[in-house]
């Protein structure tokens, strides 16, 4: 029963080449006229073919293939999982924070511009709280810009935008300071400078910040996608390795009537463990990343969009007053912006459209819904105050309109706008936390898998060698 059931060895192909063991005829073969030199590949093939004739030879080949498959599975798993873990780490530690930074940079710039216009409207001594707010915005923007620059190199698509922002920000602040100086002198030139600064902001800085956010978000998408992509090659190699191990054991069983070969069995267990670990860990990582997208990123995107819209609407509201009768297009832009953010006000009722309503639908828990609901309620108040201010201005009560829009106090457009912002800030912070938590869960699911897969592969390979070696020893 030690002979293979396949019977006679396969006939060698022409030209007949002797097996290495048939030494007596090897001399004759040299004499055979044929190709004068043989390639190493051909030699190898011949040698294998010769080895395949006998059972020990076959066993050696089978052993080598099994070891290669088990090790390859370990290596491919370690490599593919490391790649995904690195991508998940990039999501958590780099691209998500940078994307959030870019969104926050845009907000700081837009808020600085709106605040500058508001301080101008207030007239006379600018209110210190507005001045402080403007300065805080500019400080934060510089900080975020420095961070973005430190995390970017010339090959990044966002690099050009960072350069542009770095160049334009001091120009903008210079114009605003010139406006202040002229205002203090009582010269209308200050207002002209402020308009010019606002133009620079809208035409240069904000588009650059928007583009930077787009690039950073694209990078986040990319990392996110890379982290959740299935390790197909590793899975395939694992299945092939397991199948090969199974086949080898069945062959062994058929030939020896023994049920188990311990070495091969150990290799099978090691390989199966790796495969199951891979499937489970990647499944978990994927679910974590999917959650981060479903519960965090999507909400964040809508909230960021809403926040941008709110800031733009506030800027339009201020500019309507700055233009003093000549601001019809700003008023239109305000209305369009508020419709986009909070939907169409149908007889005072929200109609459920608009970015905030969408953000509310996307928020998955009470903690996420409450601040959005607060923001939505504040937009109603804001719209009411805005309408009143418009009526006041059209009625010739310009000063009252200005007081209602930019004045301090609890029941003004400014306080309503601040409440909308506060709600959005809280919601964004919450969703940010949700995102980070889920993404970290995803990243941590892959922890230890590359090292484990490597160790188990070595274990499996040792098992194969021992198992095959045991069979081979029966031939000595």
């Amino acid at each position: 029963m030690t002979q293979p059931p396949s019977g006679p060895p396969p006939t060698p192909a022409v030209p007949p080449v002797p097996a290495s063991r048939q030494a007596p005829r090897s001399g004759a073969s040299v004499a055979v006229p044929g190709p004068p030199r043989r390639t190493a590949w051909a030699e190898g093939v011949d040698r294998l073919r010769a080895a395949a004739v006998t059972e020990p030879g076959r066993l050696r080949i089978i052993g080598a293939v099994l070891v290669a498959l088990v090790l390859a599975f370990g290596a491919v798993t370690a490599w593919q999982v490391s790649d995904r873990a690195a991508a998940a780490e990039a999501v958590v530690a780099r691209s998500q924070p940078l994307s959030a930074d870019a969104a926050s940079l845009y907000r700081c710039l837009a808020d600085a511009d709106t605040t500058a216009a508001g301080a101008f409207l207030a007239g006379g001594d600018e209110p210190p709280e507005l001045r402080e707010r403007y300065e805080r915005d500019i400080r934060t923007a510089s900080l975020l810009l420095t961070r973005a620059a430190a995390n970017s190199d010339a090959s990044d698509p966002g690099y050009a935008e960072i350069v542009k922002l770095n160049r334009e920000l001091p120009v903008y602040t210079g114009l605003v300071e010139t406006a202040r100086a002229n205002n203090r002198q009582g010269l209308p030139l200050g207002g002209a400078y402020l308009r010019h600064a606002g133009e620079r902001m809208r035409e240069e800085l904000l588009p650059a910040a928007e583009a930077l956010h787009r690039f950073e978000t694209a990078r986040l998408r990319e990392d996110h996608g890379a982290a959740r992509s299935r390790p197909v090659l590793a899975l395939l190699t694992g299945v092939v390795a397991l199948a090969a191990l199974g086949w080898a054991q069945r062959r062994h069983h058929l030939r020896t009537n023994r049920v188990f070969n311990l070495g091969l069995l150990a290799a099978t267990v090691a390989t199966a463990t790796t495969l199951l670990w891979l499937i489970a860990a990647h499944g978990l990582a994927r679910s974590g990343l999917d959650d981060s997208d479903r519960y965090g990123a999507r909400s964040l995107q809508v909230l960021n969009e809403a926040w941008t819209g709110v800031l733009r609407a506030r800027g339009d509201e201020n500019m309507t007053l700055v233009a003093r009768g000549g601001g019809a297009e700003y008023e239109e832009s305000y209305q369009a912006g508020m419709r986009e953010v909070a939907g169409d006000p149908v007889a005072g009722e929200r109609d459920g459209t608009g970015l905030l309503a969408r953000a509310l639908a996307l928020a998955d828990d009470a903690e996420g819904r409450t601040p959005v609901r607060d923001a939505l309620r504040a937009t109603d108040r804001w719209r009411e105050h805005h309408a009143t201010a418009r009526a006041l201005e059209n009625d010739g009560r310009y000063d009252d309109a200005v007081a209602l829009v930019v004045g301090p106090g609890r029941d003004t457009a400014r306080s309503a706008f601040d409440a909308v912002e506060a709600g959005l800030a809280e919601a964004v912070e919450h969703e940010q936390r949700e995102f980070e938590r889920a993404a970290e869960r995803g990243r941590d699911a892959l922890d230890g898998l590359p090292a484990g897969a490597g160790a188990l592969a070595v274990l499996g390979a040792v098992g194969v060698v021992l198992g095959i070696g045991r069979r081979l020893s029966e031939y000595r």
């Binding site: 101008f120 409207l121 207030a122 007239g123 006379g124 010139t178 002229n182 205002n183 203090r184 002198q185 009582g186 010269l187 209308p188 030139l189 200050g190 207002g191 002209a192 400078y193 308009r195 010019h196 233009a323 003093r324 009768g325 000549g326 009625d395 010739g396 310009y398 000063d399 200005v402």
Partner: protein, 322 residues
């Protein structure tokens, strides 16, 4: 009133239709010679004074009258006067950054008109209008009148009605003191010259830019911003507005002679004849009194320190109806 209206409409008909057969009237008449105002004192003989196709002076308006017609009644019923003004023309109509109020020479005139129409302590709604929105604002009745350093021109007379002239200025060049530009001449060739879109300067430059490269902005004051930032080399605007710019920046000055003589008028809707007459009546009172006239008071308050005029005086009114 009815006879006057008839005469007026005939006169307007004659005046709007270019007189083909009648010989053109001589360019200078008594009214005009007497009408040399503050701007005129610096005017070189080369400065052009516009003459319309019928040979008449565009600054000719309707005879003053105190009678209240439909337009005056409308303003009274509303209880307030809605005026298109500027908030960027220093000394003329500008927002005082410390108070937030709109003040200036134009605004003093607005107050006089409002007081006459509505009595003491009148309610005035100021609407700021960009230069190129002045005519549409009047035509669509978004405002009752525009008092905004608006030059009376033949072309504009086809779209709105004007009061008699209350000031005279001319287009001039404003350049940095260190600049080589000496006026609207060859020194401007290839230079970037800024002016407000929809201003008379734009009309002038579109006819002949003298080799300069025109830059149009919303507001004449935006030109000073660009000049200070080095984005343009010179500004073209009324001598009156230019004086306001120079007053805000001592490093720029007016160069060369005024190119035109442009009378400023109050713009109103063409159908509001009674309002035009009423405003002309107010202007009559405003000019009257020599050194002690309200006009002189406003001049001294806003312009005297900033304009180099030897003998400031309001331009004399000219009328096209008898």
């Amino acid at each position: 009133m009815s006879l006057g209206g008839l005469v007026l409409s005939v006169a307007m008909l004659l005046w709007t239709v270019p007189a083909t057969g009648t010989p053109a009237r001589p360019a200078a008449d008594g009214d005009r010679a007497a009408g040399r105002g503050p701007g005129a004192a610096r005017t070189s003989p080369a400065a052009e004074r516009e003459t319309c196709a019928d040979g008449r002076d565009p600054a000719e308006s309707l005879r003053p009258s105190n009678e209240a017609g439909p337009a005056v009644e409308r303003v009274r019923r509303a209880g307030r006067l809605v005026v298109g003004v500027d908030q960027n023309s220093y000394l003329w109509g500008y927002r005082d950054p410390s108070s937030g109020d709109i003040v200036g020479f134009d605004i003093d005139l607005v107050k006089a008109i409002a007081k006459d129409l509505l009595g003491d302590d009148p309610e005035i709604v100021y609407k700021t209008v960009p230069t190129d929105r002045r005519i549409p604002a009047v035509q669509r009745r978004e405002v009752d009148m525009v008092v905004r350093t608006m030059s009376i021109t033949c072309a504009r007379l086809k779209e709105v009605a004007f009061s008699t002239a209350y000031f005279e200025a001319g287009q001039q060049i404003l350049a940095p003191r260190s600049s080589s530009i000496t006026g609207f001449d060859e020194t401007l060739r290839g230079k970037r010259l800024c002016t407000a879109a929809g201003s008379t300067a734009q009309t002038l430059l579109e006819k002949d830019d003298g080799g300069a490269e025109p830059v149009y902005v919303d507001n004449q004051l935006d030109c000073l911003v660009r000049l200070q930032l080095g984005e343009v080399d010179a500004v073209m605007t009324d001598s009156a507005l230019a004086a306001g710019q120079a007053a805000q920046d001592p490093s720029v000055r007016l160069v060369g002679d005024p190119l035109t003589v442009e009378p400023y008028g109050v713009a109103m809707h063409r159908e509001d004849e009674d309002l035009v007459r009423r405003v002309n009546k107010v202007l009559d009172d405003y000019r009257r009194g020599g050194e002690n006239s309200p006009w002189m008071a406003a001049y001294k308050r806003w312009l005297a320190d900033k304009m180099e005029v030897a003998e400031p005086a309001p331009p004399a009114p000219a009328y096209r109806d008898r």
